[in-house]
Structure formats: structure tokens, C-alpha cells
Symmetry: C2
Subunit: 367 residues, 2 copies
Amino acid sequence: MSMLDEACMARAIELARKGWYSTHPNPRVGCVIVRDGEVVGEGWHVRAGEPHAEVHALRQAGERARGATAYVTLEPCSHFGRTPPCADALVNAGVARVVAAMQDPNPQVAGQGLKRLADAGIEVRSGVLESEARALNVGFLKRMETGLPFVRVKLAMSLDGRTAMASGESQWITGPAARRAVQRLRAQSSVVLSGADTVLMDDARLTVRPDELGLDAEQAELASRRQPLRVLIDGRLRVPLGAAFFQAGPALVVSTLEDPNYAVVGHELLTLAGADGQVDLAALVAELGRRGVNEVLVEAGPRLAGAFARLGLVDEYCIFMAPKLLGSSARPLLELPLERMAESRELRISDIRAVGDDWLVTAKPRG
Amino acid sequence: MSMLDEACMARAIELARKGWYSTHPNPRVGCVIVRDGEVVGEGWHVRAGEPHAEVHALRQAGERARGATAYVTLEPCSHFGRTPPCADALVNAGVARVVAAMQDPNPQVAGQGLKRLADAGIEVRSGVLESEARALNVGFLKRMETGLPFVRVKLAMSLDGRTAMASGESQWITGPAARRAVQRLRAQSSVVLSGADTVLMDDARLTVRPDELGLDAEQAELASRRQPLRVLIDGRLRVPLGAAFFQAGPALVVSTLEDPNYAVVGHELLTLAGADGQVDLAALVAELGRRGVNEVLVEAGPRLAGAFARLGLVDEYCIFMAPKLLGSSARPLLELPLERMAESRELRISDIRAVGDDWLVTAKPRG
């Protein structure tokens, strides 16, 4: 019984992953309905405002849902949002048993969905493949638990920890496979955040280019229908409104200054000055959380990325490491001046994998 | 037949690895003798002056070697060295077939061993698991093919490519598992090479400490019976003869200066001044090759390691990467000042593996 539960939940997680690029601000959720050892319904949440995973799976199962077991990667909702509660739908369909990978930390659910099912006489189990299910929604879960989004800092460096030559020259540190992986990181994020230095130097747009994602047609199509919000940190408003960045679509600019011209041409200007005269990054992250942002991808130079690190705002580093040496005059990974070993930042490397000729190191600050 | 050949050769390679820490300056070689699908003899070369792998295996097989197949990781020798030729021993034992992983590039053998076997009517096959067999003896093979030893540069860095704080503070960048791995790298090397900066700063001895190898008793015992030659690059003879380094045993000091006192207390002083007034490292590497050195481990600071890199003398980097950030003021991996991306050194990362909480990145200069 238990092994079957895990196998069915693994399939539900696989389904949830289909929503990797499209469910924002909702979580990625998958559902499998099994009766007499046979899968009778499968579903996954595609995008906000559309049916939840359970509804898709129940529709496919039809009458065969009666007496069946439903596997869901997240506790079914119990509240009326843009769609009616899934817990009610499962009860109405006559499902006999519900297995959830984890409780929904959303305060509007938080155990109430499972309780409603149990109250209706449905057998309930929770906690199957929970850590795999949590990995589907690191941003949504962090936001539900703390109000803040999950901040991922993407960096590209040489094996000796350098990002560009002293002159600023930096083209093509990493190869095409790494660039596709960065496109996918953008596409899965609610927000792509950068700084004036990067946008000015590279004339960067920071958009998702669906044909560069390296995804199959279905996933690329889903990704193409939602551009992440582009956030530009520009304390002194140095990036001109004629820049490619602003031509590529509406953006949120965060500055210490005010200027009514941004709104006129369709961009939002948010003024958030910290005590040090710089943009208040911690206040910005909190504001993004309030706006329903799950995952923030920081794609910035050593100065801005270093500021996120110094302020303790980083949840995860995604470091693309190119197999080359740029030498000791080249620019550092992060502007992070430390004096003593005791100040060094401890990380935990959770994954290292080959990406073409480059390597992707995933690391998290240690508790 | 072919699959059996590979399986038996894999076992012979496993046996050869037992000599990992002891065969210098000889190659690591293993041998398996198989008759009617049964292993009747196994052997491996333990240390120079003692019998070769084939002799051990033939002794174990005794009369059962007649009509059998012998698997050897390196072409059997055909010349009289400190022991008689193994090709003759195989002929005399009545072996019917010999499978070698690779020809011996030693100009004293170089196909002559296999030819002698074939001339005696023995069926001969070569090239089974050749690349695995080559990996046993990167140093010996490079020396036979070019006259030069294989130079491996060991470095320890933070994830952001730094080796020490600006002050020089550097203790405990990597953890105990990485330090054991470094001990094993020393123990497998013919030479451990360092510079005056490192020896003075750390009061380093650069010896193999058998109880820190993390090996089983048999391997640790073999390693403990052969200390690698310790080579100190000390252009201006700054390390005093009373230093722990010199107390730990005889060493080879390489300098631009001359001083008769080293020989008096049992050390060798080699004067090799280059045109730039520094120690001529290329001349030193060639000299070590002439002395029968297979593998050189460079354990030095960014300046000396950087000099090896600049001169193109590095065959392999073994970089222990600690999961921490030392920041942008900290010391670089290598003193390697480059101006333009076009000068960047291209590497090929051949292996990345976890070593305790740290990671070991193995990389080779490209082409």
C-alpha cells in the first residue's frame, strides 16, 4: 500500500512539474486518481484563474472517481478563491481516500482542506514524498510561511571565481547550454531583477526568449504566455527610457529618486530609499512578497549581487562555472569585502551538474 | 570471449591499484591468470626491485598456468632490469594467450614484449580497457613518452575562488576529508613540491602522515614505507635550515643561489637560475624527469602555482572547493594576471566529486 502511495505521488509530482513555467502566483500542483490499481484521472494546474489539478483529474475520472484514491502534491484547498474549493469537489465525487504530499501553508488552507475531507468520512494521509513536493514550490512556500519571496542569485564565473576581465570584457564566459538554462531560470521566476550597471553595459532586456529555452513545444508555449516581471534597480535613474530594456515591455524601476515620466510610458517607478542613500533592497523584497511574487531571479553584476549577499537576502546561488581561468586581475564573483575568516559566508552545496561544457553549482547559505 | 576479456582486465586493473602508493618509479601493474573460466593466479607489482605482477601471478598459478590466459595491465617487459623479463616467464610457464591493456611506451619494451610472446606461438591481444589502464600510470606514461613527469597542482579555494584572506589568514578552508585526500595525493606522488612562502608561513613539512591517509592498514603500511621526495623552491634561500621542513628528512632545494651548508646537513641544493633571475621551473621539471620522477604534486601558494600555470607546466589541477565565500578582498586562486578574454586559459573539467563537505574539481588544460 505504502509503496503504491509513493509511486502514485511520484507521478503526481511529475504532472505538477508541467506547470513549472506557468502557475505563478499559484503553486505548481499535480493530481492522480487511482481505482483498483488503475490510473483513472490525471491533472495539473496550468495557470492562475484556471481549474486546479484536482478538478482536471476528477473530470477525466468521471464516475470512476467514486471509491478511488486521489493523490495530490499539495493539500486540497478549502476556500473559495477564483475557483471553488477542491476539497468539496473531492467529497462530491465520492473519492474514498486522499493522499497529500504536504499540508498547504497558505493560511487560508493550513490543514482545513484535509479536515474537511476527514469530516466527510474520507480516509486522509499526508506527508508522502513531502520533500520532493516542497521542491516544486520553494517560492510559494516561502512566501506563505514568511511573506517573502525566494531569492535566487544567478552568477556566471570562471573556475577561478571571476566574472569578467578588469576592463569589463565578459562575453561568452559560459556556453550555449548554460545560456538556455538561464532562460529557463528566468521563465520559472515571478520576477527577474537586475541593476543599472548590467542593463547599461550589456544593453540587456532580461526577457524570456521562448525559442532559447530548450523546452518542448508545449512547455515553451506555456512559458511564452507569461513574461516574468522585470525589476530594475536604478538608484540614480541612469538607464534612459529609450533603452532596449524599456522597449521590451512594462517594467518596475526601483530608485531613490522620483520621476513622473516612467508612469507616462507604462513603467512603474517605486521610490525606496534606504538610510544609506541606496535603494532599500530588504524593503523591496518585502514589497515583492506582498505583490504575490514567489521566485525572484537576481541577474546582476558583482556589486548588486554582493549587496544581496551582504544583506542576507539570498536563498540560493545558482553559479554557472566555466572551465577556464580568467586570472587574478579579473573581476570578482561578488563585491563582498571581508577582513577575517570568521566573517566568511558558509554555504551548503546542494547540487553540482554538468550543463554543456560548464557546470552549475547550486548552493544555499547555511542556516 | 570479449566480455570475459574485459571482466578479467577490470580485475587486473583493480589489483594494479593496490600499488598506487608504492611502485614509484615503476608503473602500477596488475595481472590475472585464467584457465577454463577460473582465476588461477593474481598478482600486482608492489615496489621497485621486487617481482613484477606477472611473476606473482605465475607463482600463484603454478602448473595451472599451462594453457591459460594471462591478463596484464601493461605489456610484459622484454628486457633485463632489476628482474628478468616477464615475457620469458610467461613463455616458460606455457601460457597459451596473453591479453594486455596497452603497449608499454618504455623504449626498452615498446612492443618487443608482445612480439616475443607472439614469436613463441602465444596468442596476443592488446588494447583491452586501455584508457582505464592509462589512468593507472599518467606519470610513468608521460615520462616514457616525453621525458617529463606529470605535474599536478593541488589548490584549495572557496566557492568564489579565493585561497586566503588578504591578511594571509587561511586555516581550515577545507575540511578533514579534503585534508585526507591531500595526504593521499602526496603519498601517490614521486615528488611533493612547494615554495618558500608556503613553508615559511605554515611552517609546513609536506610529509606523508600515514595515520592521516584514511587508508586500510595494508595500503597505509605500503605508503608509510616510501616518503615522496620533497622539493622546495627557494630562490633566495629564505627558509632556515632549522625549519621543521628540513628537520623532517632530506630534501631537494632549488635556488638561484649556491650554499655548501645544505649538503653538509644532508639536503641537496640545486642551482637553476633562469634568465629572469627566478628559479627556472621548466629546467627543474625536466631534471625531475631525468631522475625518474613520475608524478609531481605542487602544493604552493598563488604565486608559485601561478608561475607553473603561466609557463604551461601544469598537466592537471586538483582544486578542493569549500562551500563558503571568502569575499572580494581575499587572495586569488593563482597569481595569473591576464588582460583580455582571449588570454583566458581554457580547461576541461574531467571530474567533480564530493569530499566530505567540500568538492574536488579535477581539470586539465585544453589542447
